[in-house]
Amino acid sequence: MSDIRLVNLTKSYGEGNAVSEVNLEIGEGEFFSLLGPSGCGKSTTLRMIAGFIRPTSGQIFVGRDDITALPPERRDIGIVFQNYAIFPHMNVAENIAFGLKLRKMPKAEIARRVEAALKQVGLVGYDDRYQRQLSGGEQQRVALARVLVTEPRILLLDEPLSALDKGLREEMKFWIKDLQKKLRITTVYVTHDQDEALTMSDRIGVMSKSRIVQIGTPQDIYERPKTLFVTSFIGHSNVMDVTVARRDGDMVVVSLDGHEMSARGAADLQPGTQAKLVVRPENILMGAALGETGPRLAATVLSETYQGAIVRYRLKRGSQEIVAERQNQAHVERFAPGTEITIGWDPGWSEALTA
């Protein structure tokens, strides 16, 4: 059963919409990310779920209950903000006890739970510290402890890692994910960082210009992008102009400068129309790595960039530049600039999209 359900959720400010007709179902215990560029409406969506913004239209359900009109304090939803929002006039213990005191819990019970929460986030002994005595990472742990100690039904996180430096960000990414898994708490995570979304999420909703454009598992989103926007926003892609020749079962046959080739493609691609063929750099095969099927195209190596674990090639095919990446493994074939080679790809790893 779904834990959160958004139905045609819309928020408009004056002329433009910040969020347009978002429909979404998030399962119990699921880690769901809203991923998209800055200004696409992620925070507005999250803040409507939290109850800080009243939707212009649409509904929000938690379980069976319509919570659209409930004030934030009656939603049983915890939120961690980008700036952590630690109360500066309270110490760590008082911050964490805040929600428990409001619930009129006995003092001894509060003390016990605060200690347990501090232990859970690895901040034992930090009780008496104030916000200004905490690092960014510590503030984030306090913010999480403060929310989790009240055992909310749903956890919302708005770009919680963006204020941390890179090393800590990597560490916290896995730490948050592990904690979420252990607690099995339904989580909505907002980020503009594709790496965060791909590594942490059970599913991702990609947003663009106030709308959700694709929902799927990280693998779906990365390997089967439905639109050019998703393709370009997540990872790097080679995008080639093709013409749709005909449909062929699940696949579609397209023509690239007269070379016909098979590709995965949306059902709405009409024969004779222009389309875009998308292939990820790591799926461009070169030389001896070429498989049985798929296109064979002549290309020239423009440059080879050594990046440690991977080697990156800039290739020229016809008038277009193509980027290819390969794992730098033992006995891997290397190509010097200027070499004429044959390239191709597995049709199952190429995607024809509406232009």
Binding site: A50, G51, F52, P71, P72, E73, R75, I77, G78, I79, F81, N83, A85, F87, P88, H89, F98, G99, L102, R103, Y130, A143, R146, V147, T150
Partner: protein
């Protein structure tokens, strides 16, 4: 206005000619301000305080070395004087409280108004009340609140009252006048502090289970304390030292300390006694500053 200002890291001066010259030049820049402060504030104030320890001789303003506490003894033994001290303090506290109650919502509104046009409009509203001279503003209030003023005329015309209400020439009138004068100072003290409270703090409190009122009481209000204290101190100090407002709105019937000072010095030429009353007023203000400081430390929970 903030009591919890950031720490300023002082750079250790380097021993270079240019630096020393720069520092030397900086001293020259503050010198005029320092001299002005010395000549036109410190010297008169100290002489006034000094003269209060001389025996009162009407018409004489010469400072002598004959030390006496007669003036102070008179202030603290005659009820007309010591009751004025209490009246001044009482009015100061009441005015500060009213200005806070009226000013806080206004300051909150201005602080939370993001629309630039509306924000500017509200600020102009607050600041415009400070543009006119206080005397002119008091005459405006008198037109409103006098026995034949707008309020009384309207109420009599409506048949709600038969005799005019005593709105002026009493403590009520003085309090209204002082609130009118000091309200902008309260609002300006509060705006910056309230604006510095990040909205996410209030939201965090709400989602942790606090109602709007609880979030205000437990988060916004405690964090507004530096502004509340600074504004209250400012309003209190302005109120107890105001002469124009009690003179015009109180019609010399509300005897507060500045009225005594004016009467003693300007009317009776009793400089020494007037100076003693001024000294009491000055010390009262200093005590208020001390109370403010203690309260600031206390409300910040002992954190700097």
């Amino acid at each position: 206005m903030s009591v919890t200002g950031g720490r300023i890291a002082l750079r250790r001066p380097a021993f270079s000619v240019a630096e020393a010259f720069g520092g030397f030049r900086l001293w020259w820049l503050v010198l005029p301000a320092f001299l002005f402060f010395l000549a036109f504030f410190l010297v008169p104030l100290v002489s006034l305080l000094a003269i209060s320890f001389n025996k009162t001789v009407p018409g004489v303003v010469t400072l002598t070395t004959a030390f006496t506490l007669d003036n102070f003894e008179r202030i603290f033994t005659r009820s007309i004087y010591y009751s004025s001290i209490l009246r001044s303090i009482g009015i100061g506290i009441v005015v500060a409280a009213i200005a806070l109650i009226l000013g806080y919502p206004l300051a909150y509104l201005i602080a939370k108004t993001e629309h630039p046009g509306r924000n500017t409009l509200l600020m102009i509203l607050v600041l415009s009340s400070m543009q006119l001279d206080m005397v002119i503003r008091m005459y405006g209030l008198m037109v409103l609140m006098g026995d034949t003023g707008l309020i009384n005329s309207a109420l009599i015309w409506a048949g709600l009252i038969h005799e005019p209400l005593p709105l002026m020439y009493n403590t009520f009138g003085v309090v209204v006048g002082l609130v009118q004068v000091t309200l902008p100072f309260m609002v300006l003290s509060l705006i910056g502090i309230i604006r510095a409270i990040h909205p996410s703090l209030e939201e965090a409190a709400r989602s942790l289970g606090a109602s709007r009122a609880e979030a205000f009481r437990k988060v916004v209000l405690p964090l507004s304390m530096p502004g509340i204290l600074a504004g209250s101190l400012l309003v209190f100090a302005l109120s107890i030292s105001s002469y124009v407002v009690p003179a015009l709105m109180g019609g010399w019937k509300v005897m507060v300390l500045p009225i005594h000072i004016y009467q003693q010095i300007a009317e009776s030429g009793r400089w020494q006694f007037g100076a003693a009353v001024a000294a009491v007023l000055f010390v009262t203000s200093l005590i208020a500053v001390f109370v403010y400081h203690r309260a600031a430390v206390w409300t910040s929970g002992g954190r700097t």
